[in-house]
Symmetry: C2
Subunit: 187 residues, 2 copies
């Protein structure tokens, strides 16, 4: 006895495949629900039984991607929080490599006509990973709200990634790592 009805699994798989197929030829914003359903050979009403927007389908993928990011982080950020020292090892920061690995995907996530949802998922995950690591290696500073601090740090990294995206992801991830280390050591 399976948790989820087999029909649901099949339907979702068909919709997933259809979305990926269509994404090869046109941007997310211009893909309609009708189009996905025609491609997946699924009744349009069935789509609404599971999702309410095209973006909901995309979000399912994105959440899996966030797991990959979390895995990339096993050791990672640990050293970044030692911001006062110069002992930073660029190779421990994995987020840039994660983005590089899925850059075709992130071209969608960062495109301007797409809703903020995905950006926020990335932000929250980065923040969570930072916080998790910071609480081990970073003693709370008098008067600084940990939430503001984590949001500051996490979004600063995302700022570099936005810049990277605007440059068409030209540079290698290692360059971003080096830049980050230099910026952090500046202070």
């Amino acid at each position: 006895m399976s948790q989820v009805d087999l029909r649901i699994i099949k339907t979702k798989e068909a919709l997933h495949t259809a979305l990926l197929t269509l994404l090869k030829n046109k941007p997310l914003e211009s893909i309609s629900i009708s189009e996905i359903c025609r491609c997946a050979k699924i009744n349009r009403g069935t789509f609404y039984l599971h999702y309410s927007q095209v973006g909901d389908l995309f979000e399912e993928y994105f959440r899996e991607m966030m797991e990959d990011l979390a895995n990339s982080y096993q050791e990672p950020y640990r050293h970044v929080v030692k911001i006062k020292t110069s002992e930073l090892d660029p190779s421990t920061i994995r987020i840039f490599h994660h983005i590089e690995k899925y850059k075709e995907f992130y071209r969608i996530v960062f495109s301007k006509n797409v809703p903020l949802t995905y950006y926020y998922l990335l932000f929250e995950e980065t923040k969570r990973l930072f916080t998790e690591d910071a609480k081990e290696h970073f003693h709370v500073v008098e008067g600084i709200d940990p939430n503001f601090y984590a949001s500051y740090q996490a979004n600063a990294i995302l700022g570099m990634i936005i810049q990277w995206y605007n440059d068409g992801f030209q540079q290698k991830a290692s360059v971003l790592n080096e830049q980050l280390v230099k910026i952090l050591n500046l202070k």
Copy 2:
């Protein structure tokens, strides 16, 4: 002889007013072009003569807002770039006050179903203001790409604002200023 045809001015005014009226009762994403046109008593075809999405109308407002942000910045960021010193004066950082002033507006800009466009406009403006000020007070550091650095700094601030937004803009702008100063002096 005016630059722009009077009919265009009237049409745009009517559409602007209609959008603002509708925004009092429902979120941006659920306002249709048809609805705006009915409210503005403008033919729907006329809408497409000037805009192509509801968001284009909203963007017109937002660009005016960015001018207010630029004005808030006259002196501002200047001191923030002296990140190594402790001489930071919180009252010189105006962006948080700008957000506070238009917080009802920014509740829309930061809501998750809205496209990234507005976030990017805010990001670019913050980055521009930072860069403008930085080139006067900050000598370029060997090996640091000014673009990555500006993107890092600008988006870090926006990270704090996202956190603020998630807290429902509860704190006063001055609290954000103080937090930022403490974070900058940390390093």
